[in-house]
C-alpha cells in the first residue's frame, strides 16, 4: 500500500461520510418554509402539468441536436488536421477526404429520409 493510495482512500471515505452527514444535519436543523409556488413541480415556465407522462411528444429537437453533434465533431476534428497538414502530407489529405466523404454519405442518407424536413 503506497502512501498516495492510503491518502486518496482517506479522502474518498471522508467525503462519502461527510456528504450524507451534512444532508441529514440540514434536514434536521435547517429552517423550513412551504407555500404553493414552492411545492409546484416547476417554479417557473410550465406552471401547470397537463396530462399523463406516457403521452407522445415530438423528438424533432433531439434528432436535430444529434445530427448537429456529428457535424460539430467533424468540424472540431478538422482543426488538429489543419494544423498538422504539412507533416501529414498527401496521406493525411486522403484520410480526411475519406472521412468527409463518409460523413457526406450520412448526410445524403438523412436528406433522402427527410429527417431535416421540419414537420
Amino acid at each position: 500500500m503506497s502512501a498516495e493510495l492510503v491518502l486518496s482512500g482517506a479522502v474518498f471515505i471522508g467525503l462519502a461520510l461527510a456528504i450524507p452527514t451534512i444532508m441529514v444535519l440540514t434536514a434536521v436543523f435547517g429552517p423550513r418554509s412551504g407555500g404553493e409556488a414552492k411545492n409546484a413541480p416547476y417554479e417557473s415556465g410550465i406552471t401547470q402539468v397537463v396530462g399523463m407522462a406516457d403521452q407522445k411528444f415530438s423528438v424533432k429537437f433531439y434528432l436535430l441536436a444529434i445530427l448537429f453533434l456529428i457535424f460539430d465533431i467533424e468540424a472540431v476534428f478538422m482543426y488538429p488536421w489543419a494544423v498538422s497538414l504539412r507533416e501529414l502530407g498527401v496521406f493525411g489529405f486522403i484520410e480526411m477526404v475519406v472521412f468527409i466523404l463518409l460523413l457526406l454519405t450520412g448526410l445524403i442518407y438523412i436528406l433522402k429520409k427527410g429527417v431535416l424536413n421540419w414537420r
Partner: protein, 470 residues
C-alpha cells in the same frame, strides 16, 4: 500498403454497409433485391477474407497500423466465422421477412455494420480500438433487435440490452483508464511489458482495471454473474438476429477475450483461478436455466450460456501454449454452425410472427417435414456433443486441452455438464420424432432458408474434419 491489404475484409464489409445504406435511402430496390444484395455482399466479404494472405503463425502480435491492430491466422479464422454467420443470418432474414410481412430496408446495412465492428474487434490490439469496435458492434445489434417497432416484446428486449450494454461499455472504458494509469499505455504489447517489469499484483491500478475490463467482457460473453440478460434479450429479438447475436457476437467477444488474456502470462495466471469458477458456474447455471424452459428460443439462449462456459474452459488453458487458440476457434466454428443452423431452420418453420416456438409446437415435425427435422436433429446432436459431429470434436479438443494443462477437475465438470445438456436437447428430438403431428407446418413460400439449413448441416460434418493440434 501492407496494412491496407490486411484489413481489406474490413473495408469490404464497411463499403458494403454504406452501399446498402445509400441504396436504402434512394429506394432503388425493394425487399427481394436488397436481400439478395445483402447476402451477396456477405459472400463477397467472406471471399475477400479468404484470399487475404496471412502467413504469420497463430499468435502474438504481427502488428499493423503501428500496433493498433494485429492479424494472424487466429483473427483470419475468426473473421471467416463472423462473415459466414452473417451470410447465413442474411439468408435466414430473407425468408423470415417473406413470412412475417414486415421489413426495414436498413436491416442488412445494420448487419454489415455489426460484422464490421466484430471484425475490427477480433483484430484490435489496443484498448481504445477494442472499445470503438465494441460500440460499433453493439449499436448495430441494438438497432437490429428493435427494428420491428410495432412489437412490444422487441422493444422490451432492446431496452434491457441497451441499458445493460451501456453499463458494460462504461465498465470497459473505466477499466481502460485504470490500466492506462497503471501501465502508461493502452497497447497490449506495452501493457504486457509494464506487467512483466513491475508485476501485476503490486500495481493496484492494473488489478482494478483488469477487473473492470473482465466484467465488461464477461457481460458481452454472457458468462455467469452477468448472464441474466441473455434469455430475455435472445427471446425478444427476431429469429435471424438472435442467431446472429448468439454466434457472431460470441465469436468476436471471445477473440478479444483471448487476446486480452494472452497479453502476459502473469496477468493470465492472476485470473485463471477466478475463470475456473466462472466457467464452472456458467456451465451449471446455464444448464439449470435451460432445463426449466418450455420455449425453444429461451432454451437455445440458455444453452448459449452453457457454451460460453465451455469456451471459458478453453480460455483457462489458453496461452499455456499457443495452439490452444486453435481449440477455441474450432469450438467457435462448430458452435456457430450448429446454433445458427437451428435458428435458420426456425426462421422458416416458426411461421408467421414466430407462432411455433414451444417444444410442443414441433410435435411430429419428422412426419411432415422429414428433411428439416433431420437437420435440426443433426444440429442438436452437435450441440450436445455426440460423436460424428463438429460439436463433439470441439468439446473433445477443449476438454483434452484442459486435461493436458492440468485442469483435470475442470475437464471432468465440463463432461458432466455436457451430459446434463443432453436432457433438453433430446426433448426437442423426442417431440419431433415420437409425437403425433398436430398441424401441417405450412410454409408460405419456399425460399433460401431451407437451402441454408442443409448447407449448415453439411458444414457441421465438414468442420469436424478440420485438423487441430492440441
Amino acid at each position: 500498403m501492407q496494412d491496407i491489404m490486411a484489413i481489406l475484409p474490413l473495408l469490404a464489409t464497411c463499403a458494403g454497409a454504406i452501399l446498402i445504406m445509400l441504396v436504402a435511402a434512394f429506394e432503388t430496390f425493394r425487399r427481394e433485391g436488397i436481400s439478395i444484395l445483402g447476402i451477396g455482399l456477405f459472400a463477397f466479404a467472406f471471399f475477400v477474407q479468404l484470399t487475404v494472405e496471412n502467413s504469420s503463425p497463430i499468435m502474438p502480435y504481427s502488428a499493423i497500423f503501428n500496433g493498433m491492430l494485429v492479424t494472424s491466422t487466429f483473427t483470419k479464422a475468426a473473421g471467416l466465422i463472423i462473415l459466414a454467420c452473417g451470410f447465413f443470418s442474411a439468408i435466414a432474414a430473407q425468408t423470415y421477412f417473406t413470412q412475417n410481412r414486415w421489413f426495414v430496408l436498413e436491416y442488412y446495412c445494420m448487419m454489415l455494420f455489426a460484422a464490421c465492428g466484430m471484425i475490427l474487434m477480433t483484430m484490435a490490439a489496443e484498448l481504445i480500438t477494442v472499445f470503438v469496435a465494441l460500440e460499433i458492434m453493439s449499436l448495430a445489434i441494438y438497432t437490429l433487435i428493435g427494428c420491428d417497432r410495432r412489437s412490444v416484446i422487441r422493444s422490451e428486449a432492446v431496452l434491457k440490452y441497451l441499458m445493460l450494454g451501456a453499463f458494460a461499455g462504461a465498465f470497459f472504458v473505466m477499466g481502460s483508464v485504470f490500466i492506462y494509469a497503471g501501465a502508461g499505455s493502452t497497447r497490449f504489447v506495452d501493457i504486457a511489458r509494464a506487467v512483466s517489469e513491475g508485476g501485476f499484483i503490486a500495481n493496484p491500478a492494473l488489478v482494478g482495471g483488469s477487473l473492470l475490463i473482465m466484467v465488461a467482457l464477461l457481460f458481452k460473453a454472457a458468462a455467469f454473474p452477468f448472464h441474466a440478460w441473455v434469455v430475455d434479450v435472445y427471446d425478444g429479438a427476431p429469429m435471424p438476429v438472435t442467431g446472429f447475436m448468439a454466434t457472431a457476437v460470441k465469436t468476436a467477444v471471445f477473440c478479444v477475450f483471448a487476446n486480452v488474456l494472452l497479453i502476459n502470462t502473469e496477468l493470465r495466471d492472476g485470473w485463471v483461478g477466478y475463470l475456473f469458477w466462472i466457467s464452472v458456474l456458467t456451465m451449471f447455471v446455464g444448464n439449470l436455466i435451460a432445463i426449466g424452459q418450455n420455449n425453444l428460443k429461451r432454451m437455445l439462449a440458455a444453452s448459449g450460456i452453457v457454451h460460453s462456459g465451455y469456451l471459458i474452459i478453453g480460455l483457462v488453458a489458453i496461452g499455456s501454449d499457443t495452439v490452444s487458440n486453435g481449440a477455441v476457434i474450432f469450438y467457435l466454428a462448430a458452435y456457430a454452425a450448429s446454433t445458427l443452423g437451428i435458428f435458420v431452420a426456425l426462421s422458416y418453420l416458426g411461421g408467421e410472427d414466430e407462432k411455433r416456438i414451444r417444444f410442443d409446437d414441433f410435435n411430429g415435425l419428422a412426419r411432415v417435414r422429414p428433411y428439416s427435422a433431420a437437420c435440426i436433429t443433426i444440429f442438436l446432436l452437435s450441440m450436445a456433443g455426440i460423436p460424428p459431429t463438429a460439436g463433439f470434436m470441439g468439446k473433445f479438443y477443449i476438454i483434452a486441452g484442459a486435461f493436458k494443462h492440468g485442469f483435470v477437475a475442470l475437464g471432468v465438470l465440463g463432461i458432466i455438464s455436457s451430459i446434463l445438456s443432453v436432457w433438453y436437447y433430446l426433448r426437442l428430438i423426442i417431440s419431433m420424432y415420437f409425437r403425433e403431428p398436430q398441424e401441417e407446418f405450412g410454409v408460405s413460400e419456399m425460399t433460401l432458408a431451407p437451402l441454408g439449413t442443409f448447407a449448415l448441416a453439411a458444414a457441421v460434418f465438414a468442420i469436424s474434419f478440420i485438423p487441430v493440434v492440441i
